[in-house]
């Protein structure tokens, strides 16, 4: 069994890793918010989603976190009339990605908030460790 303080920094680290992975997915979605298909009438960029799962560590009985999967959003595409676009079909309609900027922004805020909470746990654990080491110094 590993020391609980070491375990808690490791768990918080796994949380930070998961949240930064989420941040990467959000960045991909925002960057590709206008990416249409290559050929006429083809599908555009599909919004990606991310889900987490609990990674239970049997040795210490603690619950870290890991990415379960990066999936695709099933929401319908936006359709815009733009006959000049190379991705337009014979009616002149272009399919645009199903990325909603407001949702991405809200998601980004939430990821940021969770990341900061994990960071706070690491800071606090470190201060606990250093105060215990301080006992030896007196």
């Amino acid at each position: 069994m590993i020391d609980p303080l070491v375990a808690s920094s490791r768990i918080a680290g796994s949380g930070m890793g998961a949240q930064s992975e989420r941040m990467r997915v959000i960045a991909e979605n925002i960057a590709n918010a206008q990416s249409t298909g290559q050929t006429a009438g083809s599908d555009p960029y599909i919004r990606k989603t991310i889900t987490f799962r609990t990674a239970l560590d049997r040795a210490s009985g603690t619950a870290a976190v890991a990415v379960r999967q990066i999936g695709e959003d099933k929401a319908p595409f936006k359709v815009e009339y733009d006959p000049g676009n190379p991705a337009a079909d014979q009616n002149g309609n272009v399919k645009l990605p199903n990325v909603n900027m407001l949702i991405e922004m809200a998601d980004m805020r939430e990821a940021n908030r969770s990341y900061e909470a994990n960071l706070q746990m690491i800071k606090q654990t470190r201060s606990m460790v250093s105060s215990i080491i301080e006992l030896l110094r007196s």
């Binding site: 808690s8 989420r22 603690t62 619950a63 976190v65 994990n118 654990t125 105060s131």
Partner: protein
């Protein structure tokens, strides 16, 4: 002179606090995991009350009973402040509040140990 239990007690509480910190870190890390239920340890006071202290043998005829000296604290699902639609019951504010509690108790604990240690050292020094 009575044996001094304080260091033993303090180290046990410290162990409880560090285990609780690990559980809270797990909750915070799983703040966005669907279906995850927030967990918490039983409070140290309850653990201490359930601890079966072994009786001291003061006579050669006394039989020693080796009971379980300290039951390890178990993490169980706790009632969170709220449950979101995905079935997750972790509230970040609640968890950070608990982490603050742990850190405060730990500061108190190490302060007591430090001052007690200083008292012992002082009495040892003046006895020379």
């Amino acid at each position: 002179m009575n044996p001094i239990f304080l260091f033993n007690l303090a180290s046990r509480q410290l162990h409880h606090l560090t285990a609780r910190q690990a559980v809270i870190a797990g909750n915070v890390a799983n703040a966005n995991t669907p279906g995850y239920q927030a967990r918490d340890l039983t409070p140290f006071r309850d653990v201490l009350n359930k601890t079966a202290l072994s009786m001291a043998a003061t006579h050669a005829g006394h039989l020693g009973i080796d009971g379980p000296s300290a039951r390890p604290a178990r993490a169980a699902a706790s009632d969170g402040w709220d449950v979101v639609h995905s079935g997750n019951s972790v509230n970040l504010e609640e968890q950070l509040m608990k982490a603050g509690e742990v850190s405060r108790d730990q500061a108190l604990n190490s302060g007591i140990v430090k001052s007690f240690n200083r008292m012992l050292a002082m009495s040892v020094k003046s006895g020379q």
